[in-house]
Amino acid sequence: MKTIIKIFIPILMFLVYSCELDNYDGPDAVIHGAIIDADTDELIEQDVINGTEIEYLEHGYETPATQYMVIKNDGTYRNNLMFSGTYTIQPVRGNFVPIDPIEVEVSGVTELDFEVQPYIRLKDVVIEKEGSSIVASFRLEQTVSNNVAKIGLFGHPEAHVGASVRTMNVERSINGVVDPETEFTLEWSIPDNPSADKMFFRVGALIDAPEAKYNYAPARKLAL
């Protein structure tokens, strides 16, 4: 038995040792930036989950797989694990008028902003607690002639609140072109035993366009 073990241990070590370390270099570059409203220079609010995505293809391969990045709620994005190289990059399925893909050389820390035209801008947003309700009022400025499909008020205990991250929502169908002067109001009555003491609330409006996502105003934290 001992002999066998003596034989096997060297063999095992030989087998294990004979693997080389991975001989490829790790990711060495960073890309970051934001989705920016070309007219107002403001960041365009997004959804982290099921929101706008950034598609990118790395050049130099015969059949490169499409890779995806998500965008933070405030409209910024960052990928610290990129490989240096040339990429075709395009934000897709977003809450702005689609833009063409951009070719970009990524090396070191590369900053790349996308200047776009949001479908809808939310103006004069006020979200307040009034009595036992949360009341949100706002106006909509649409930049395209499509219908506004619906508007919504979303709430969640986390700051990532949105159409996909929510524990409450009040949505209303509009299905029409809106007058920029019209004030919309959405109201949510706080239940007797709310699931959290404080919640983040965010209002949004969805345009009726293929694969469009909600446009938002920044979230507001309110005590219930």
Partner: protein, 634 residues
Amino acid sequence: MTRIFNILFILTFIFLTGCDDDFLDRSPMDKIDGEAMFSDPEGVKVYMANLYYQLPIEDFTYFRDGFNFNPSDPNNGGYLAAMTTDEAVHSGWSDMVRDWDFTWWEPAFELIRDINILGEEIPKLEISDLEKEKLRGEVAFLRAFAYYGLAKRYGGVPIIAELQVYDGNLEALKVPRSTEKETWDFVLNQCDIASEMLPSSWAEGQRRGTKWAALALKSRAALHAASVAKYWNDAPLSGEAVNQGLVGMDASEADRYYEECIEASAELINNGGFGLYGPNPSTPEEAAANYQEIFVNPNSVPEEAIFIKGFAIPGTNTGHNYDIWYVPNQLANGWPHPGRMNPTLELVDSYESYSQPGQSFPIVTTQDGSINDYSGFDPGKDYLRFDDPSEIFKGKDARLWATAVLPGTSFKGTEIIIQAGLVKPNGEAIIETKDSYSHNGVTYHTFGAPDWPQYSGFDTYGENMTRTGFSFKKFLNSDEPVVPSWNQSTTDWIEFRYPEILLNYAEAVLESNYSQDNAMSKAESYLNSIRKRAGHTTDISLTLENVLRERKVELAFENKRYWDLVRRREYHKIFDNSTKHALLPLLDLRVDPPQYIFVRKEVSRHPNRTFLPKRYYKPIPGIGTNELVQNPQF
């Protein structure tokens, strides 16, 4: 030690050198080659049986892992397509459709290759020309069925209608995807060939494709294609696959496909000699019994069953597991995993009532009649009270009683106890918690009985109890106790049932506003004939809402709902951060004697679910090597 090594060393040499040159040329003793197989008509039959077995029939063995999921250990939790729709929830799991669920790619192309091998062999067979024509019809039917299974999952796919031969050139074997439109057209074309060549029935009553099965398939496939064309814009996708037309169709195609559906359905309805089983029941009870009979014993309803897939031998891969997975907990008979299928309140609400025909009849639980309050029990509310829990369902469509086990009703001679809790005399409620409470010298149990084998609802024990308030009945044997082991059920499966064709016809007529040949009034009479069979006595008008509701309840749990939601692009609207609903029967001790009240509520332990539009198509595997264009967002 050294000696052993020496011996082994020598032996190794003997073994390594002991091969004859012709070792690899010997024919195996346990297999026969193609020539021997196909030279005998019996061999062709055996081969054919294997092809039918591989068809994408969504029967009792269709789960998210794929088709024919009944190997020696078929333990997959019993999670199936109905549970990802609004028809049901699983007693323990709440998953939505995942990327690779319900996919069918590699087995599909294996089947297509096997079909093509047969297609090549037919001219060489020593049988009459008439027999050859039947076989060619069968090849077209099998091919159409296979491509229908692919097209509804992937959109456009590579069309391989001839046997591929590998001659060293790998690239020649790579067939690019056809467009979605071309693929559907191919399916319909193969259905046409099949319906021309196939006989109306087979001698000896074999379960093979017939002219009518081919027309039924065409009816179903054309309706799917038409719906995709018409409703594509409700959830449009983008990307390379869309640009090339590999998924999606133009709305202008819709009417053509609807017309194909209408023609195929009309041919089957007018000339197929099919009808409804028990078309004129005298009571709702008789209607319920008739309806149940169709699914428990499909062979006794030849007028209604257009195409059947058989299950034969218990304990093998021709047995299935519906009875053990879905029987109410009280009837588990020692089986550890019953009660998985819990029909939802949404489905139960959809059934009409005999008193108010032509509309869904939601279960009303309170005096004020509100049905949209899911906030749970509130002692201040005025609940309707019942002596017997099943009273609240009185007057609902017979098919509800035959599809679901309702609280307090009897199944296999046992009263099925489904109770979610009790309300103490002071108005405090104990809900979905195992507990008991003594009042006036009587001990009441929250779940209706003291121990877990004695009730079937709301306890989390083993995930064996319903959490919606309803258990499952359709398809389940209603006489014999379950046999507590795998693959013991041998109920046959009806793949094409006459009412589906009637409803396909009605939907296609309405959607395309088709008026030739008196189609509207025919469609209305078909709709009402199905309702009449279910015990209704008042006719309703032909509206899309009525037809779709009828489809939902008549075909419930037949694995149709999933594809109805897909083809009509309703999935992402119904599942937009949404949950499903339950009906909680509570024993109310505030009155004497205690009575039952009901609470409409969200299903417990069920997170909200979203269906992403990209899931209207499935991802294609292996695009690195097969070089196909991937579907959007995968």
